[in-house]
């Protein structure tokens, strides 16, 4: 409904050219650069035409949040400030998004948990905020080390949840994420997760798009809900929540509202497939043995497959890119020939294995493991051993625990 005047080809105040997102990400020249994951987040946001970034320090996302402060100082972001806590940050993000801004934030571990109340509120309010989650331990005793348990808590918030394996994923998916989550039929927040430290604090070669090209700005007039004047917000929207009224239709409205959020998650499927080239990547799907993983467990799985091939054991791999929308049909199809499905994870509960078990027929095929957590690494050899043990083969490696 907005008066559409294309701004593609025009320049922003930093001299960056607003570029069609598909061309920017698929046709523009790429420059190999050697960056940490945190630096990659900064470089993606430099190109994302973000209006507002709100920060609060918590390891391991603090560096990325600080680097984006530099972008603000350079004039690439409209506004940037530190909130009073993670809860405050996420509430302030909501305010900015209600007002029609493209919003970005980062958090991790206990910060994610502290802010949790806001995430279903974001989704229910149809706010396409993007939040980077650099996963770390959440339980006591304190751990700042990699652990993906917090993702399990995000899965039922109504947010889109993607799990990046590499810094390259991160760079591309930050930009693509806005394109998916801002579609009017989706218009939901995105939690773009990675395994803290493994991705944020290690350097990798990442192919960057030109710094003088950026995404087109967000158009709030395409939103499925009215954009609000935040200097004079319609307070009755908040004062009269439906569930406070004890009659049938208000419950029905609230129920329909929830259904609509999950309908929007479903609608994101089409757009996510378009931008991410599928919700999963799959290799060797005719193999008897499959590894299904997300995040850096994919990298470890890939190395385990190489070790197994050296011993004549053929194994396939499924990289799960989006957790919401959940690639149910894709996983069912990719694992249909598998007799054994191994799900290596960096968390104690095995939430990914549970999701897969609920998805595929004959779920006794799923071996929920190996698991590591609390910051332990996952050597590919323990995946190899897990597979060989299940197949009744002799283990290749003697793996003593770090504490033994």
């Amino acid at each position: 409904m907005a008066e559409t005047k294309s701004i593609i080809g025009t320049q922003n105040k930093k001299g960056q050219t607003y570029t069609d997102a598909w061309k920017l990400l698929n046709e523009a020249p790429r420059t190999p650069s050697f960056f940490t994951g945190s630096e990659v987040i900064k470089e993606a946001i430099r190109r994302a035409s973000c209006d507002v970034m709100i920060a609060y320090p918590i390891t391991p996302q603090s560096e990325a949040a600080a680097l984006i402060g530099e972008l603000f100082a350079e004039g690439y972001i409209g506004d940037y400030f530190r909130g009073e806590s993670e809860f405050a940050v996420m509430s302030q993000c909501a305010g900015a998004a209600f007002g029609g801004a493209r919003v970005f934030t980062t958090t991790a571990g206990p910060g994610t948990m502290r802010a949790m109340e806001n995430f279903p509120m974001w989704a229910g309010s149809r706010l396409p905020i993007q939040m980077i989650v650099t996963c770390r331990g959440i339980n006591s005793p304190l751990s700042i080390q990699p652990d993906t348990l917090e993702i399990a808590y995000l899965l039922n918030t109504g947010m889109l949840v993607w799990h990046a394996e590499t810094a390259q994923d991160f760079f591309d998916w930050i930009l693509k994420g806005y394109m998916v989550s801002e579609e009017p039929d989706v218009h939901l927040p995105l939690a773009l997760c990675c395994d803290g430290f493994f991705v944020t604090h290690t350097k990798d070669v990442v192919n960057l798009t030109p710094a003088d090209m950026c995404l087109p700005p967000y158009d709030p007039y395409r939103s499925p809900v009215p954009c609000m004047d935040m200097e004079c917000p319609p307070v009755r929207m908040m004062r009269d929540p439906f569930v406070m009224k004890s009659n049938y239709i208000s419950y029905a409205t609230h129920a329909s509202w929830q259904q609509e959020i999950w309908a929007a998650v479903e609608r994101s499927r089409k757009h996510s497939i378009h931008w991410l080239n599928g919700l999963i990547d799959a290799e060797n799907t005719d193999a008897d043995i499959m590894i299904v993983a997300s995040g850096t467990a994919v990298s470890q799985g890939r190395e385990a497959i190489r070790l197994l091939e050296d011993e004549g054991v053929r194994c396939g791999l499924v990289k799960v890119k989006t957790l919401r929308p959940w690639p149910e049909e894709e996983i069912r199809e990719a694992t249909k020939n598998a007799k054994h499905i191994f799900v290596p994870e960096f968390n104690v509960t095995g939430w990914l294995a549970k999701e897969i078990k609920a998805t595929i027929p004959n779920h006794h095929r799923v071996h929920a493991g190996p698991h590591v957590c609390g910051g332990m690494t996952m050597p590919p050899e323990i995946i190899v051993n897990e597979i060989k043990t299940a197949l009744g083969m002799k283990k290749s490696f003697v793996m003593a625990g770090r504490g033994s």
Partner: protein, 211 residues
């Protein structure tokens, strides 16, 4: 493709969102009828037929066309008025076209006045009160339109049409996408062209009054 079909209700105490049942939105140049993707040409014919067949064909304009917040909105509003006038001109004996706005999305308590407005939180009240058996949403923000369309499908037998400016609505029985002045005018032309070829729905058993 999903076996689920988006049909007039009353469907269920709490019907599912059609998207969750596998119904997909049309791509540009397409529409859907009952959840099946069709050409826009076919959708114009079916929407016009439903309007001409209904005893109380009704247009529900929302805030995006009720206020002249830009030039396009004002033109669209004029086109909506033209469509309504066309429905009146083409009305058969026993038909009562209506134009009822959805000016506000906030819930109203104890209840809305169903004679003059529709509210997305209580859409059935307006449908039931006016015995509306076919309606078209236009200029309603997508989230609110989806809420209304699903509640209407759950509790009434009203046939729902969405003339959506964005990607369309699975929860309507028939949905256009990328609505424009031209599309509204073309629907009006189709109604005019099909006048006299469609019989008024004879039974009230499937009217909007059911609950």
């Amino acid at each position: 493709m999903s076996d689920y079909r988006v049909l007039p209700g009353p469907e269920h105490f709490l019907p599912p969102a059609a998207a969750s049942m596998g119904i997909r939105l049309p791509n540009p140049g397409e529409a859907h009828i009952n959840g099946v993707i069709v050409s826009e040409d076919k959708a114009y014919e079916e929407a016009a037929r439903q309007f001409l067949m209904a005893k109380v064909p009704t247009i529900f304009p929302g805030p995006l066309v009720l206020w002249a917040w830009n030039e396009k909105a004002a033109k669209k509003a004029t086109a909506v008025r033209h469509l309504f006038n066309t429905l009146k001109e083409c009305a058969q004996a026993g038909q009562k076209p209506m134009l009822i706005p959805m000016p506000d999305y906030r819930p109203k308590y104890p209840k809305i006045n169903p004679e003059v407005e529709i509210n997305p939180n209580h859409p059935n009240l307006t449908i039931w009160h006016n015995k509306i058996d076919c309606c078209m949403f236009i200029g309603v923000h997508c989230h609110q339109a989806n809420l209304s369309l699903k509640i209407i499908r759950g509790g009434t037998s009203c046939y729902t049409i969405a003339m959506c400016a964005q990607a369309g609505h699975e929860d309507a029985m028939l949905s256009f996408r990328d609505a424009s002045v031209e599309k509204i005018m073309r629907l009006a032309e189709t109604v005019k062209r099909l006048k006299g070829t469609v019989q008024l729905r004879s039974s009230t058993a499937k009217s909007g009054a059911s609950n």
